[in-house]
Symmetry: C2
Subunit: 300 residues, 2 copies
Amino acid sequence: MSLAVLGTVALDHVKTPSGVKKDMLGGSAAHFAMSARLFTDVHLVAVVGRDFPDKHLQFLRRKGVNLASLKTSRGKTFRWRGEYKKDNLNAALTLATQLGVLEGYVPELTEQHARLPHVFLANIDPDVQIRLLKMMKAPELIGLDSMNLWIQHKSKSLRQLMKLVHVFVANDGEARALTGENNLIAAAKRLRQMGPRMVVIKKGEHGVLFYSDKFMFSFPAYPVEKVVDPTGAGDTFAGGLMGYLSKVRKVDEKSLRRALLYATAVASFNVQGFGMAKTAPLTMREVEERTKTLVKFMAV
Amino acid sequence: MSLAVLGTVALDHVKTPSGVKKDMLGGSAAHFAMSARLFTDVHLVAVVGRDFPDKHLQFLRRKGVNLASLKTSRGKTFRWRGEYKKDNLNAALTLATQLGVLEGYVPELTEQHARLPHVFLANIDPDVQIRLLKMMKAPELIGLDSMNLWIQHKSKSLRQLMKLVHVFVANDGEARALTGENNLIAAAKRLRQMGPRMVVIKKGEHGVLFYSDKFMFSFPAYPVEKVVDPTGAGDTFAGGLMGYLSKVRKVDEKSLRRALLYATAVASFNVQGFGMAKTAPLTMREVEERTKTLVKFMAV
């Protein structure tokens, strides 16, 4: 099946204890696509500026990502500059953002893309997410991600969106901020009450918690001894989750458990290199291998 | 088989968002014993003062805990007063401690207890732990727990002890403090290098990580929506781990995975009530039931 992802395509400047990298291809939709393409056809709905390097476009195309709904606008590509400190590699410190073409961005969709059954609203302004959602003709499975910035400043739009989606993906800090609940099981329940049938709480090195009315489960993260750059790990995770569900075209307990297993495996590659250094060359065979190791790791 | 546990027996005064309780039976060895007694014969090596309520002694005996090496000394029983705040139920704030008879405590063992094959050194001054260890005639399996206080103030004794034990149990904060490693996989490896063949890192609501040279694994915690009082959860966990290993008399990958599953299950009961309110009435049947639920919770 086919999956549309709306979000950002960015040029990232990242500093971590492992080094500094400039002008890397990044952004929520780009990281998501680099992961989801392993499982399904993925269509990028985003905007870049005229300064966006052609090599990145060619690279995305080579990786099988469909760019028909990627808009090039007059202006500069969104840029993010961040740092991760040694004592907390889970949390990015944003040093600078240049919105560029993101400001006033109105998503555009090809006729074909508007009919895709699966859509993921990766992290971007919730008003843009709502706008895209209204353009979709008959979405069967809608996923949503967000971030603290929108939880604080666009709470109303975000809460409206949560009523319209099926899968809500949040990290532990976001889940706590949105619900006021410190206990993650309680927070997951509250998020469920806010709309989405399925709630996925990402806990970084501590793994993932899934919650729905009928069942819940939790997996540990794949054990990574050296995190090089966590940028995009959450998007990569969501790409594995939605990519797998889109591939098997089934949303039941079994497929959700498998989907989150694959999501965990793909995300673990992401953090082992800067930007997409580890996810771009990734093959499904390597993902399967790591998934098997992960199954052994968590076996009773 | 039989298991000796050295540690504290205390009178606890605890405040949590769920309420306040005074003069509760507590202490590392008492919580450990209340859990381990579900799996094996457990012998308490500890000291109390003359003020220690007889009802607590009778209660421990009724629960099948052997008290032949429990010393009653002139002076007051060790008292701990602590609080847990709503926004971080994982971390206790110590408001007051009265060492009482713990000061200058020299453990005493019956002849029979000195010959026990399994011993757990629950949290108490490392110099007391070393002293007890030297009294044991032929220990086959030695477990060790500690706390930040000793990591900071008795680092030398603790490091000496770590060379003498087989299983080292620490929470995530302790593991980081002892090794200077923020990444828990890296921290576990470093702890292994410090002596113990088996390293168990307890992550509270995030579950547990096991590390040894040949294999490692991780389990999520049992999902508890409302934590009433986490006091003694780590000791209860260790009691389940050592109790099960002592029962099956085997330390291999399979038994360790089972042991940590049981440990997780028992510890989840502990946090659902004040002090031993939930672990004292617990039967093995209830533990088995929760273990089954836990296996489903974490199944792929």
